[in-house]
Amino acid sequence: MSTAWLMIVLLAAGTVVIKSIGPIALGGRELPPRLEGVVARLAPSLLAALVVVDLFAGEDRTLTVDESALGVVAAGGALVARLPVVAVVAIAAAVTAGARAVL
């Protein structure tokens, strides 16, 4: 098996295991009520981290800023204007491409 296929199979298998741990460990037990507010805030915490890491993390643990930051700022504006998600991501790509063409 080539390296690429081995990578795919190992990554897939590992991901199945990671996704299974919580449900198998917890079973049907409810989380303690004190933690409800924490669970509810996992999504904003993780999604915000995914946005900035995707945007600013470069190769070899560096932080970089490029034209895509302008695209995501424009996407933020589109969200505030309540445009549909399709328009939001299209604007992000268009502004990024435009900035690269000009700058």
Binding site: A12, P23, R29, L35, A40, P44, S45, L50, V85
Partner: protein
């Protein structure tokens, strides 16, 4: 934070819940409609095109490195965008198999806290619960978040269906016809992914604590990027959710 929501684009768990209540016995308009898979599919539909576009950019980037068939197979069986981009780019840069796999797995480590969060909503014995948890992807998990500490299983499983169609379809087009599209960076396709996550995030900013968690999570992640392997900054950002701890 209502003003930041894009609730016109998709129905959130809150709104479906509210509709259920309205049509319930107290509303007097017949039987309450339970949330089913169709509600999840409907909630996920507005994300099909964005996911398709990101899938296309993955196909375009991955095809020259691992081949079209492997790129498509990867999207089908790994089905986790951020990890796929990371692993393939490490392999492309001459990295070892071990480093490519571990980078992808670290990025997917966020499915550990996400799986714990969704666990009480799943059904059946351990095997069935584990199987249901496989349908968890970022977008469907976020859609299924009711905002009160609980998740809706049907919304998650349903919303994953359009996610899969978009992701797989996009990868196929990108991997097969990528050479016609040109350079993804010139087209600004690298901005699709963070913009997509930003759109998911906007739906989650339900109150001040959620906003504070988002800001803190972003700060934790950025602060850790220079010092930890990829993936760890995002997992560590889940600590920001502790702001929601009840006193």
């Amino acid at each position: 934070m209502r003003s930041l929501q894009v609730s016109n684009t998709r129905e959130t768990a809150d709104e479906i819940g509210a509709r259920e209540e309205a049509s319930g016995p107290r509303g007097g308009s017949g039987e309450p409609e339970p949330i089913d898979l169709k509600d999840g599919i409907r909630a996920g539909l507005p994300l099909v095109l964005p996911t398709f576009a990101i899938g296309t950019s993955f196909g375009v980037l991955a095809e020259p490195e691992i081949g079209a068939l492997a790129a498509i197979a990867m999207s089908v069986i790994v089905f986790a965008g951020a990890a796929q981009f990371a692993s393939v780019s490490i392999l492309a840069a001459g990295g070892s198999l071990a480093s490519a796999v571990s980078a992808g797995l670290l990025i997917n480590t966020r499915f550990l806290p996400m799986g714990l969060a969704v666990a009480p909503a799943l059904h059946g014995g351990p095997l069935r619960r584990a199987a249901e948890a496989q349908t968890m992807v970022d977008a469907s998990w976020a859609i299924a978040n009711r905002g009160d500490g609980t998740f809706d299983r049907q919304l998650m499983m349903g919303a994953t269906i359009p996610q899969g169609l978009g992701w797989w379809g996009g990868t196929i087009i990108g991997a097969v016809a990528g050479s016609l599209l040109g350079d993804p960076a010139t087209l600004g396709l690298d901005a699709l992914f963070p913009a997509f996550y930003l759109a998911l995030l906007a739906e989650e900013l339900r109150d001040r604590t959620s906003l504070a968690s988002a800001l803190l999570g972003a700060a934790i992640a950025i602060a850790l990027v220079p010092f930890t392997p990829p993936g760890i900054p995002v997992v560590a950002a889940s600590l920001a959710a502790l702001l929601g701890l009840r006193r």
